[in-house]
Symmetry: C2
Subunit: 423 residues, 2 copies
């Protein structure tokens, strides 16, 4: 008898953990991703700010499963779902499944203002990160050679939109990059004059954290030279300009960390979504009306046992991926019926969350406790190193971080992908 076939869409945290949970089980797994690598997204901002090289936070998906015989990997992209026929259609073929796990994640979202995308880059992929790195380093190169003070100021201005963890991390790391790392490289410009704006619509940063931590974060960023603008919705974005209610900020680089949305294809599934397009799932993570289809990770709009929306964090994605695998395995083993009501509900175990602000500053909340300063930063460092996939990366990243910490340097401030037209 053939093993049931589980198709997993997306090699992020949810997809990888789901596939791993089938190890040594009578299941054939096919993991499909558009990229050949699993990305350690929590450190993506470090690539953008020249702290780490791209391969240091990415790992080939194939090699994660090289010793798990029942997982095949396919680099391809899903173009359509055929839920009735239990098939997914990719660019190259049709793939039948017995169980489907949709863990494609989300992309940068602009609140419906798709025209803003060209003016403000999001940070979701390695290519986003290396493009941001290139554009920002390039702006400083231009500033160094620039003679007009106004244009120079514009080139040295970075506006980060969105005061969540990604925005805070980006603003903090770019402040450090400008004030410490680049400072000694440049001779004509004073990189201390670089302006970093962090723009947030609500009245505090990191709204999901305790207000005291929000306050600590703002003060720390300000002491690092970041201009924090709270209660400022973005009214419009134009090339090199952020329009707020009362002012317009001219910035050569505008980064968008204010929202995410589901990929367009997920809307073709015919199920209810939230405003960002995330799929409203049953309590067992299955798609309404399709007990053989599961949604795991950021793409799932899932309310947990306590009635709270499960956050879009890697620990939640990992737990969801494992839960989907568990439900599928129980059903294959015949230990549960297909009846929804008796399937185990997904229970989110909230280990806490953390955001780093800069060198030796971070905030963390866990089990009702709050942490800030160097303690939180060491927790952050330890946990992120621990979870980085693969020995090599862990060691190389540690070397880089140690070096960056001691010498205030960034090894990866290399501009690639820039093509002057041929002479």
């Amino acid at each position: 008898m053939k093993n049931p076939k589980v198709v997993i869409l997306g090699g992020g945290f949810a997809g990888i953990e789901c596939a791993k949970a089938f190890k040594n089980k009578p299941v054939d797994v096919l993991l499909i991703d558009r990229q050949n690598h699993h990305l350690f997204q929590p450190l993506l901002y470090q690539v953008a700010s020249a702290g780490l090289a791209a391969p240091e936070i990415a790992h080939p998906i194939r090699s994660i499963f090289f010793n798990q015989d029942n997982v095949e990997t396919l680099m391809d992209e899903v173009t359509a779902f055929d839920l009735a026929g239990k098939k997914v259609v990719t660019r190259e073929r049709e793939i039948p499944y017995d169980y489907l796990v949709i863990s494609m994640g989300v992309k940068t979202g602009y609140f419906g203002h798709h025209e803003w995308e060209q003016h403000a880059r999001g940070l979701k992929t390695l290519d986003d990160a290396t493009s941001i790195r290139r554009d920002i380093l390039l702006a400083f190169e231009k500033a160094e050679a620039c003679t007009g003070p106004e244009e120079r100021r514009r080139l040295m201005t970075i506006a980060v939109i969105g005061g969540g963890p990604t925005g805070v991390e980006l603003a903090g790391t770019f402040a450090e990059l400008a004030r410490h790392v680049l400072q000694r490289d440049f001779k004509n410009i004073n990189t201390n004059e670089a302006k970093i704006y962090l723009i947030e619509g609500q009245d505090r940063l990191l709204t999901m954290y305790d207000p005291t931590l929000s306050d600590y974060t703002r003060k720390t960023l300000e002491s690092m030279g970041v201009t924090v603008k709270l209660r400022n919705q973005v009214a419009d974005l134009r090339a090199g300009e952020v329009v707020l209610k009362n002012e317009t900020i001219k910035a050569a680089n505008i980064l968008w960390a204010a929202g995410v949305e589901a990929p367009a294809i997920s809307r073709t599934l015919g199920v209810e979504t939230d405003r960002a397009g995330r799929l409203l799932v049953e309590t067992d993570l299955s798609l309404p009306g399709h007990p053989e289809v599961f949604v795991a990770g950021d793409l799932a709009h899932c309310v947990d046992q306590s009635g709270r929306l499960v956050p879009g964090l890697s620990p939640a994605a990992i737990q969801m991926g494992r839960h989907a695998a568990k439900v599928i395995l129980e059903e294959i083993n015949g230990t549960r019926s297909k009846d929804y009501d008796v399937r185990p509900q997904f229970r989110y175990f909230d280990k806490g969350s953390m955001a780093t602000i800069g060198r030796s500053h971070a905030v963390a909340e866990s089990m009702g406790m709050k942490f800030d300063g160097i303690i939180a930063w060491l927790m952050w460092l330890f946990i992120h190193l621990f979870f980085l996939v693969g020995f090599r990366n862990r060691l190389a990243v540690l070397v880089q971080w140690f070096y960056a910490y001691v010498r205030y340097r960034r090894g990866a401030r290399i501009i690639t992908g820039l093509h002057f037209p041929e002479k």
Copy 2:
């Protein structure tokens, strides 16, 4: 009195060493490069074959001179020379000079067959290297999902054209990549069936070395599974096809390591060039008729004291850069006249040369001695680590190599810069 202004074009080995030689001297140096980084070209093939990440072999030019006050760095590109007016014209401005050092290097050359460029990538820049890495990893991904045996064979075939050091290094490293590193990642294809061709027009590889080393190199490559084709001129290149005299090789990836040529702009200088466009310089490295202009590095066609053409190797570039600086400084100090005849002749000190074939295999020649096998490989490893710019890179590279050596893995096999059209 203002210091004399030295403009250096190109931040390769020649340009960097030339600028360094002006440390603490009464000279203002402006170093112009199209890129923001100095590239350790001898290890570029390691980025192409996923052994190293791009930033590990590159170093921001600015940071090389952060403690040398008289060097300014400009990321720009020269678009015209005005030798009579002692100016260079860049995309952005006109820059006057008292002394000019042209150290722009060479680019991949196709023996006049410019139409071949689209079918066979050369290896001269970081972007070349990451593109080669992407294309080759992608071909294996496609092969894994491919059902037709012929197409699968084509996808798993790499043809390297040119049996010099770069060609040998590429063929060797891709043979290892396919047979050891990728072997365990893929489940449908047997990467041992990957075909690596090394195609050379002459009757032996590494023609500049002793024939016994050429022979050792060929045998080593063959034992690694490389098909070495000697006495085979490329008759034509088409998309995915290398046409030789008696056969046509179908290869998804074709790499060109068979020649270099001068950038087009160097032909506008109005001096005699060799067939590859390299500038024929005086014995002091100055441009004929322009004692204030020097050519250093690969772009110089220079005959040394013993009547031999100075090879296009990094030690020669380094020595030329220093020589140009020495002549300029002697003139500024008034210790020599501008008269050509009394200027010191460039003397090439040939330390020897080496090429690596694969894990623990290399060949080297130095001071009339020949080395091969693991001895040559350890020499190669030591020398390349020693010369890598910057502590961080050296340590990170050592970690990577050690890990790759012990575990037969490549950490950087990440596909970036690939964009499926938006769904």
